[in-house]
């Protein structure tokens, strides 16, 4: 005889309802299924309106008997949001229906308000942790979201009269955001995910993260500091491919050599094979980086679904270099190509100098110059624009390649080169006779380089002299 199992059918699924109209959709569906009667429906509406009347009186502090319709609608939206927060917290929607049938709508509101206020407190604490652990990365959207937008939200958030509002200029994109959520529930999920992403990124040296972002900007021809990019996604992507190319979980920087190894490994693989490799790489990352937090593990694993279509598309179109950010050799790191055809107009130049002056960090000044200056003339003008001081010159010179340094050396030491070109060597230079500040700083900078590199730059100087005997 065949046994027949009768399972209890739960007709209501909490995931079937729009989170922003949860209670109303739940009630309508429950009513359709006969789980809630007309008396309870009428009671629900009457009590909601009674709550609205109470709150309007509180809102006007008893000084006005009327308010604008828009204000009343906003307060009503706030009441429903607070009730939604409580009602949607029930794992089983039928328990919530039972509560509504019991008729204690004002009690549901009170419990919802307590929950919203608890979320607010909890989220403010989480925000402080995120602020304390903020990455030292000059992405404007990231910095302004943490420094300005989130404190602004907490300052104006009003759980009593505007609980549903998410008034905050949050520009920094998460890898997995839920933009359909509202109010404190949205901010809560945003900060929880930002916290996970920050925890992951802090496992790597900040210099490595900066290096990958700089290379990312080069690949996509943008200034990464102004871009709306997710740091976690870029670093996680490179880490996955770093594991696949050289089994180095802690090294997000992928050299051209590692990239070649990676291409060899992925070449000719189909979707299931790539999926296995990527999933295994994420597990290796979790293990090697000693990640034990379940939420972060799952957050990383969820990325497979995002990465796989991009990876397969890149492999099919031979464009893997757009997915994997490959490091450019250090001597051309900042890509300052002296191109006489790219001279800046006066206005742009003044804006650039103002930006440099406002900046207080030498490395950041160097990055601004690297992203803004394309011609030798502009570069020299910047050096002489009184916007760099003391060791900021060496910060900038450190970012230049051998070719660029050889060009600057030819300008700075032109008298020495004219008097005895064959005897000239950077190994013997002094700052005697130099009067311009950047040239004096350059003379101080060269002795700090290793002799191999000085020889290389010397070689470039002498090569150019042979090619252009009429220098100067």
């Amino acid at each position: 005889m065949t046994k027949t199992f009768i399972d209890k059918i739960t007709p209501l699924s909490r995931h079937a309802f729009n989170p922003n109209h949860y209670t109303l959709e739940l009630i309508n569906e429950a009513s359709r299924l006969g789980l809630i009667d007309q008396k309870s429906l009428n009671n629900f509406q009457t009590q909601i309106m009674s709550l609205l009347t109470d709150l309007i009186i509180k809102y006007t502090k008893g000084e006005s008997t009327s308010i604008k319709v828009e204000t009343a609608q906003r307060i009503l939206g706030s009441i429903l949001y607070v009730i939604d927060t409580h009602i949607s917290s029930f794992e089983n929607p039928e328990d919530a229906i039972e509560l509504i049938n019991a008729g204690e709508i004002k009690m549901i509101y009170k419990d919802g308000l307590d929950l919203v206020l608890a979320f607010q407190k909890e989220t403010e604490t989480l925000y402080q942790e995120i602020k304390n652990n903020k990455l030292d990365i000059p992405i404007k959207a990231y910095q302004s979201t943490i420094d300005d937008a989130l404190p602004g939200f907490f300052k104006i958030y009003d759980a009593h009269f505007q609980a549903q509002d998410t008034m905050a200029g949050i520009d920094y994109p998460l890898l997995f955001d839920e933009p359909d959520l509202q109010g404190i529930v949205y901010i809560k999920q945003y900060l929880e995910k930002l916290s996970l992403e920050t925890q992951f990124c802090r496992l790597f040296p900040i210099e490595d993260i900066g290096r990958v972002l700089l290379d990312y900007g080069r690949v996509y021809c943008l200034d990464y500091r102004d871009a709306l990019i997710n740091i976690f996604e870029i670093i996680l992507t490179n880490c996955i491919f770093s594991v696949l190319s050289s089994n180095q979980a802690r090294q997000p920087v992928i050299t051209p050599y590692k990239y070649e190894l990676l291409c060899d490994r992925l070449n000719g693989l189909d979707h299931p094979q790539c999926l296995t490799l990527v999933s295994d790489a994420i597990e290796t990352l979790i293990s090697d980086l000693c990640i034990d937090q379940a939420q972060l593990k799952n957050y990383m694993r969820d990325y497979v679904a995002v990465l796989m279509p991009r990876l397969m598309n890149a492999l099919n179109h031979n464009s893997l270099a757009n997915v994997v950010i490959v490091a450019v050799e250090k001597d051309v790191e900042l890509d300052i190509v002296f191109d006489e055809g790219s001279i800046m107009d006066d206005e742009s130049f003044r804006a650039l100098v103002d930006q440099i002056i406002e900046c207080e960090d030498g490395a950041e000044k160097a990055a601004i110059i690297a992203s803004g200056v394309r011609s030798l003339g502009d570069f020299i003008d910047v050096l002489e624009a009184d916007c760099l001081f003391d060791d900021e010159f060496s910060c900038l010179f450190n970012t230049l390649g051998d070719m660029e340094l050889s060009i600057l050396a030819r300008i700075a030491f032109i008298e020495d080169l004219r008097s005895d070109p064959t005897a000239f060597s950077l190994q013997n230079i002094t700052n005697e006779g130099l009067e311009i500040e950047w040239q004096i700083e350059l003379a101080k900078f060269f002795p700090g380089l290793d002799s191999y590199r000085l020889q290389s730059i010397d070689h470039l100087i002498h090569s150019s002299l042979q090619a252009k005997p009429g220098l100067g």
Binding site: N28, F44, Q45, T53, K61, T65, V69, L76
Partner: protein, 166 residues
């Protein structure tokens, strides 16, 4: 939908908005007759219609009928109101009142606003409803909005006191 569209405030609040009845309006005669002013049943009915229309025209939700009583008790002693124009004046004052609630961005309470209206009406306007609305009250609202703006954009804002409602 089984549950009415709750955000459509007027039908939703139908049972909560206190309806102004003919008896309520006629009761105001007890106060106004001290000054020789009376509404008859037709005028009282017209006042109910004018009040409801003013609330809708100015996009407001009214929770009680207290404003009609307040207008009667505040304006009846005015030397510029006579029996012939009493009903018309009340209708106009109600409209100016709701208009001003919007124009002042709900930043002043009912009693304070009615007090300001009365002062202008009895003094600079000498009973002119046109001057009251188009000159004095509009000018007052503009000045108040500028002051509110200056306060809102001041470098240091006063934070609102957090209220415990329930």
């Amino acid at each position: 939908m089984v549950v009415k569209n709750l955000l459509d405030i007027y039908p939703s609040m139908g049972s909560n908005i206190e309806k102004l009845t003919l008896g309520e309006v006629l009761n105001t005669n007890l106060e106004s007759q001290k000054y020789g002013l009376m509404l008859n049943a037709v005028e009282a009915q017209e006042l109910i219609g004018a009040r409801n229309q003013a609330i809708r025209n100015h996009g407001r939700v009214e929770l009680s009928i207290g404003v009609v009583h307040s207008i009667v008790s505040i304006f009846c002693p005015s030397p510029y109101i006579n029996q012939e124009e009493y009903a018309f004046t009340l209708n106009e004052l109600l409209d100016i009142f709701y208009y001003m609630k919007n124009e002042t961005e709900d930043t002043i309470g009912d009693d304070e606003l009615l007090g300001i209206m009365k002062d202008y009406f009895n003094n600079s306007c000498q009973g002119s409803l046109e001057l009251l609305k188009n000159r004095e009250m509009t000018g007052y609202a503009n000045k108040l909005r500028r002051e509110n703006q200056a306060r809102d954009y001041a470098p240091e804002r006063n934070s609102n006191d957090d209220q415990d409602i329930y």
